[in-house]
Symmetry: C2
Amino acid sequence: MTQTGTGAAAQPNSFRTIKTEILRRIRDRVWQPGELIPGEEDLAREFGCARVTVNRALRELADIGIVERKRRVGTRIAEHPLREARLEIPVVRTEVEARGAQYRFSVLSRDEVEVPETLRARLELPPGAPVLHVRCLHFADNRPWQFEDRWINLAAVPDIAGQSFETVSPNEWLVRNAPFSEMENDLSAAGATTEEAEMLGVSRGDPVFVIERATWLLDQPITLVRMVHPSSYRMISRV
Amino acid sequence: MTQTGTGAAAQPNSFRTIKTEILRRIRDRVWQPGELIPGEEDLAREFGCARVTVNRALRELADIGIVERKRRVGTRIAEHPLREARLEIPVVRTEVEARGAQYRFSVLSRDEVEVPETLRARLELPPGAPVLHVRCLHFADNRPWQFEDRWINLAAVPDIAGQSFETVSPNEWLVRNAPFSEMENDLSAAGATTEEAEMLGVSRGDPVFVIERATWLLDQPITLVRMVHPSSYRMISRV
DNA sequence: GAGTGGTCTAGACCACTCT
DNA sequence: GAGTGGTCTAGACCACTCA
């Protein structure tokens, strides 16, 4: 009946309060992994709130893998909780500047070509589709930070054809002008190839951190990029 | 007035439909990055649905970084869209088996000790807190897959003290019995140390993929683990 | 068939922030 | 002060799944 009125802070009975309380019960072993917890209706009654509020709390906990929900069955504490981490994907420049270093980049090559077959298959592009191939080197305080080898689907991002990349890197231009909704990342450690070693100023075979990323907007491929970092690089995520 | 009745499928006017339509408008440049889009009220009128429904669609888009929302200002298409990737965190055994390989592991060492200072600071544990230190080697088809060096907060997970880890690895035991809500991951490439090289059957200095992970349940530290993989390892995420 | 989560509607108050 | 998003309530129908 009365208005609860939640804002940023967690008032009594907000979905945030309920989330925290559920986590508390899990931590204190009130509810064990695998256990079925009361239904939304019951919890709503217990917390004195609407069912939708409980629903949101439980949905968000399900989103991060803490609980599992099934219709007709109910909600149970996950036996294999939290299956995912979130990694931030910053613009290279921002990433460098955030570490207090000076950023600059240089474009090593730039070619408009028809899509090579391996790339075509990887991104599900039509045969002969025009793509832009760009290779860049990014620096932090004049030390090589990342070697970038990128392919861009010109059908999806026609405006990029007119870009000189003198002041704005392809990475940053894309991030600003070509939103995407789907992304695949493949992270690995590898030994530097001869070219990578030369670019990054390390020895051939030295460990490098490799990120290969493909992006789409709905089902339209945008770009595929391989980014290679020296082994001092750290990718950090907090969930 | 009428009931829309959405289920798994996206009926007209479900929050899913609205999400997709908004993505379509972004893809088709109806709305450009940086642009302010109509308010929830207007969109609700346009789509013929309740404001809450538009709110959920926009909230989920904001969650993945496609739009940015501010009170009093409105919702705009993000200029730096999608800042995060989600990485799945599987149980080692599952991960190995998913690749069609046979899994086994061996416990290299196991000690209950007082928390060392560096670890104490990292996890914000009280001085002298009891921790369990376990080192394991995980195999895929009898080839070394991962070298694991783990510290466990016994105050948070007392039951683990009685575990022999003969059949269930510490990793899997924790995943089954110790839910967590917060996690930090630090991914990097490194040269194998002498010990790591020996364990993984590679040469010293060879590239290895390193995951360092710390977990908490609410604010209680659970475990800190360093997992080292040979360079053939791939960490893949799809968003 | 019946119970549980999934989602929608309609209306409301609040919090933040810009002017 | 005013406008926009943030969230809550109350009630409802639907979809899925188990028995």
